[in-house]
């Protein structure tokens, strides 16, 4: 944690230091200590900024753009830049050319014309200066808006809720199951023969149920495998299931004597129990 006190940063930051002396403000007149020139120029974000500064120093409005004195002052800055071979001079030279062009048009006698709409040669520059000034204002607004990580910080709380995250079990749709079945069969290349009939499935289910019952009870009374409440279809399904189980050699049906009770039982292990 830092306890260093932070100086308020917003105001009166020196532009830089010249021979140990802080240069606080842009110069009020044109005299600039030569060493400070670069610093001062860097404090302008471009020719528009410099131009705006020069107009403001004249306490003039942009719309009254005093083209002659401004151009003169501007050229003096540009000359200094050229002497110092500053890289940023290029953009400033473009502006210098524009100012010179406007100045010359202002000085030329205008042919008399009825057209009132004849544009002031300064108009385009004035428009650009106004727009630039608006944007400078926007930039200042942005700088003054609360910034995340400077003025406000995101609040967080700890939580132990991670431990509550449940392991999700995969979900399966019925259609996926049917699709998987047909894909499995397709693998076996048995495509031609499996119209599975619905009754068949209830039979297979009943087969499973009977086998399951036999897990817990070695023999079942044949009669107990029929539930009259299921009605005729139920009885048929049970009967088919038993027949199928017998056919697949999964159960045995035994009857000790004629007319004695019929039992369904697990098949006796015919083979020795294997290790698996």
């Amino acid at each position: 944690m830092s306890t260093a006190e932070q100086a308020p940063q917003q105001h009166s930051l020196p532009l830089g230091f010249v021979r140990g002396e802080p240069v606080i403000d842009k110069p009020e007149d044109l005299y600039i200590p030569p060493d400070a020139l670069e610093l001062i120029l860097e404090s302008f974000s471009g020719p528009m900024d410099l131009l705006l500064y020069l107009i403001r120093r004249q306490k003039m409005e942009i719309v009254d753009l005093p083209i002659l004195p401004i151009t003169k002052q501007y050229m003096e800055y540009v000359d200094m830049m050229k002497d110092l071979k500053l890289e940023l001079a290029a953009d400033y030279l473009v502006m210098a050319a524009m100012l010179a062009e406007i100045k010359s048009r202002m000085l030329l006698p205008r042919p008399p014309t009825d057209d009132d709409e004849e544009e002031d040669p300064r108009a385009e520059l004035v428009r650009r200066l106004q727009e630039y000034e608006a944007i400078r204002q926007g930039a200042q607004h942005l700088d003054e808006l609360p910034q995340t990580g400077r003025d406000n910080f995101i609040g967080h709380a700890q939580t132990d809720a991670q431990q509550w995250v449940e392991q999700q079990l995969p979900e399966v749709a019925l259609a996926d199951l049917a699709l998987a079945f047909s894909q499995a069969l397709a693998q076996a290349k048995l495509q031609n023969h499996h119209q599975v009939q619905r009754e068949k499935l209830s039979t297979r289910e009943r087969m499973s149920r009977i086998l399951d019952l036999l897990q817990h009870q070695q023999r079942l009374r044949f009669a107990d495998l029929f539930d009259p409440s299921e009605g005729r279809p139920g009885v048929v399904v049970s009967f088919l299931a038993i027949l199928e189980l017998v056919k697949e050699a999964l159960v045995e049906v035994v009857q000790v004597d004629a007319f004695s009770e019929i039992h369904v039982m697990q098949r006796e292990p015919i083979y020795a129990e294997s290790t698996t």
Binding site: M1, H156, A161, F181, A188, N192, L201, S208, E244
Partner: protein
């Protein structure tokens, strides 16, 4: 600094700090504001009270104070990290489908149909899920287990019985299927299936 603003600062700091902050750390932090230990303790007590009934609470843990969510909200908040359920592999789905449509069935039968071995992990997963169980043994060498689906399986798919399983979609390709050798068991099953 006013007491009110100091309290706001302590509160904000505790919400922003990555780690719990101890009293000592807080005192050092506010050394410029020359806050007394007693004053700090009062602020912390007040804050704890303020947040008593809120969704987050100021809690003292071993290394200091921090804001944390109410314990009762764990279930709801955990949804933030809840991942989407994973998906079953094709092998798993086909195995389950074969058990559903061809039960009772042995692992060998499934392998014969699918043409690849079925891993024990798949059978284990299906049984742990409660969808499949062993309902007996086939009386052949090795007495392989017979698998069937369970009532839970039917419940999961909202079926009242297996006959509600969808009819099988037409297979995509109807190509050469002559001279296939299949095991007796499956052959029987299959030939019965379309009777």
């Amino acid at each position: 600094m006013q007491n009110q603003q100091l309290k706001q600062a302590v509160e904000a700091l505790l919400f922003v700090a990555e780690q719990p902050l101890s009293e000592a750390q807080l005192l050092e932090y506010f050394s410029n504001e020359s806050i007394s230990r007693k004053q700090l303790k009062n602020i912390l007590t007040e804050l704890q009270k303020d947040y008593q009934e809120r969704g987050v609470q100021l809690t003292r843990v071993a290394s200091g104070y921090r804001f944390q969510t109410r314990a009762e909200l764990g279930g709801i908040i955990s949804r933030l990290w809840q991942e989407k359920p994973p998906r079953y592999s094709q092998a798993m789905l086909e195995t389950l489908a074969l058990i559903a449509y061809r039960q009772p069935i042995t692992r060998g039968d499934i392998e014969d149909i699918r043409g690849v071995s079925v891993s024990s992990q798949i059978m284990k997963t299906l049984q742990e899920r409660g969808w499949v169980k062993v309902v007996g043994h086939r009386e052949v060498p090795g007495r392989p287990q017979l698998y069937a689906t369970t009532a839970e399986f039917l419940d999961y798919f909202s079926l009242s019985d297996l006959s509600e399983l969808p009819a099988i979609p037409e297979p995509a390709e109807k190509a050469s299927n002559t001279g296939q050798t299949i095991t007796a068991e499956t052959a029987t099953n299959e030939s019965h299936a379309h009777e």
